[in-house]
Amino acid sequence: MRLLGFGILKGMAVTLENFVRSYFDRDRRHHLFTKEYAWEPGAPAEVLPARADTTVTAHSRNFPILLHDGADPMGGIRCVACQICERECPPQCIYIEKDYDEQGKYIKRPAIFDIDLSVCMSCQICVEVCPFDAIVMDSQFELSTANRFGGLLQHRDQLLKSNEYYHRIHPEEARARDDRMAQEKAEKEAKQAAADAAKKKAAEAKAAAEIAAEKSKPEPSAPTAGGAA
């Protein structure tokens, strides 16, 4: 005969087992405790966790930052203010203004680059569309501020982080990106060199042809010696 309440007792056995095991099962113990975020409160933002059990891994992303090469943020800024990311950002939280020098000439860097983190949805589309590898995702989670309105509006100088910082937070991704950039650069240079060589050759050929033409004018019967150059 089926004992009424047997199923309930069976269920209670499961909960009891879980309770007891939570003290002994290493795997469960690890998973039963709340994990903390990466940065200890008060630690400088550039310090990365040494702890293994953080939820922030080398792969997590939250908000975009701008990268610069070298020590001087504005000297090495990679962004050229092409505004592709501004156009593509799905919730339209990027605002860019181009920078001009005194003569009104565009100098390929942003005068204003604002990202409203209260609107940003951490989607990484800006990173993907940027043709200059200028913008990448950060993993800084401790961003709360007391100011509701402007507090999360990040300006260019707050967004600028060094490439070394990027290597620290996303080592694998950063290495891959650097490798690809180096490769692209090499390809571009090779192409440029090839183009230059071709141009030089064409120019030489043209010059030679001109010389030949010059020579052939006064003395139509003279042989065109320069033509073979």
């Binding site: 069976k10 269920g11 499961v14 792969h59 593509e88 950002c89 799905p90 990484q124 589309i125 991704e173």
Partner: protein
């Protein structure tokens, strides 16, 4: 009865109002009610405790998803699809990528195909475990099953985070493949999670399936017949719980599903218990698929030869996948520009919700909560 009481009763009957006597009680459950899984309202008319009419009211979470997508490039609405059914961002991504890949054919590399299947089936595990947990929560088993479910879900979300950078808003699929490959060691970690999962399912079944209270509260409650389900356009586990054998993974064989051996569990009664059991059984089948996929996955690129700017020629298409909640479809009309002319989502939980009144009428209001839980809705998808 004393004389005084009799007179009181008599005088009471004198002032009775006929309109009140018929006494249907109207209750507005929600929009902020813990049982409604988000911001959703049920206007319920009750005769005593029995539901005589029920009107679902939704739209509280409307975010203009479709119109927004028509104003931005094809790629830019990919992250918005994550936010439709925020439990299953991977399958949402897949449905949208599938539709877009029909507009502009791009060959998806082998490894990406396998990873897509792995991600989709992990998503199914996430969805079904949490659904069972929430369902038991609605039944009054506060906490325990839900926390067990979330404990397991956590491991899968960790996998998602390592692969895509985010736990829930993954934004991982691209037209022609995936955004990036999984990091080193990921497949081994996924394997460990998949291998440990059956133990959890055993435990879960032991905890719940024979529990007399669960049986009493769910069997013969909210019965949906197969014919009614088909007529209403119900899809997913809810349809299969009513005994209709229809699973897009078998019907459409999108992706590489024809390579995997798995069965489609079917219910017979179409009640809440069947809907609950179907989810547990489907998880076992998902594990089989995961097992095979993790074994066979090749190495190679994860992104096909996609153009830098996605600009399909004028055409229209409908792409659909079997999301954990049912048939999720994207209907796209391209007009030759970089933006879709029309972008329409067929959300499974919205359409599954349309039979809610038929399921609830005749049951008590406490059962209405259980029935809603067994439908498995996510308001982000219902309201869009």
């Amino acid at each position: 009865m004393s004389a005084a009481a009799a007179t009181a009763a008599a005088s009471y009957s004198l002032v009775r109002q006929p309109a009140m006597e018929t006494g249907l009680l109207e209750v507005s459950m929600g929009p902020h009610h813990p049982s409604t899984h988000g911001v959703f309202r049920m206007d319920v008319r009750l005769d005593g405790e029995t539901v005589v009419a029920l009107k679902p009211v939704f739209g509280y979470l409307h975010r203009n998803h479709e119109k927004l997508a028509e104003g931005m490039s094809y790629l830019a609405s990919m992250p918005f699809t994550d936010r439709l059914d925020y439990f299953n961002s991977m399958t949402n991504n897949w449905a949208y990528a599938l539709a877009a890949e029909q507009l502009l054919p791009i060959e998806v590399p082998e490894r990406a195909q396998y990873l897509r299947v792995i991600m989709a089936e992990l998503t199914r595990l996430v969805n079904h475990t949490s659904l069972v947990g929430f369902f038991l929560n609605d039944l009054g088993a506060l906490g325990t099953p839900l926390l067990y479910a979330f404990r397991e879900r956590e491991r899968i979300l960790d996998l998602f985070e390592q692969a895509s950078g985010a736990r829930m808003m993954c934004n991982y699929f691209r037209f022609g493949g995936l955004r990036c490959d999984v990091p080193e060691g990921w497949l081994a970690r996924a394997r460990a999670v998949v291998d440990a999962f059956p133990r959890f399912l055993d435990e879960f079944e032991k905890l719940l399936c024979e529990n007399e209270i669960v049986l009493a509260r769910t069997q013969r409650v909210g019965v949906l017949s197969g014919a009614q389900a088909v007529n209403a356009g119900i899809t997913g586990p809810m349809l299969r719980a009513s005994g209709v054998n229809y699973d897009l993974r078998k019907v459409d064989r999108y992706g590489i599903y024809e390579r995997f051996a798995f069965r489609v569990p079917l219910g017979s009664a179409g009640d809440c218990y069947d809907r609950f059991m179907i989810r547990l059984l489907e998880m076992r089948e998902s594990l089989k698929i995961l097992d095979a996929a993790l074994r066979d996955i090749p190495t190679g690129p994860v992104m096909g030869n996609a153009p830098r700017v996605f600009k399909p020629a004028a055409s229209e298409t409908y792409g659909r996948v079997e999301s954990p909640k049912g048939e999720l479809g994207f209907y796209l009309i391209a007009d030759g520009t970089t933006k879709p002319y029309r972008y329409r989502v067929r959300p499974p939980s919205f359409i599954n919700l349309t039979v809610l009144e038929d399921l609830c009428v005749g049951h008590t209001i406490a059962d209405a909560v259980v029935i809603l839980g067994s439908v498995d809705i996510v308001l982000g998808e219902v309201d869009r």
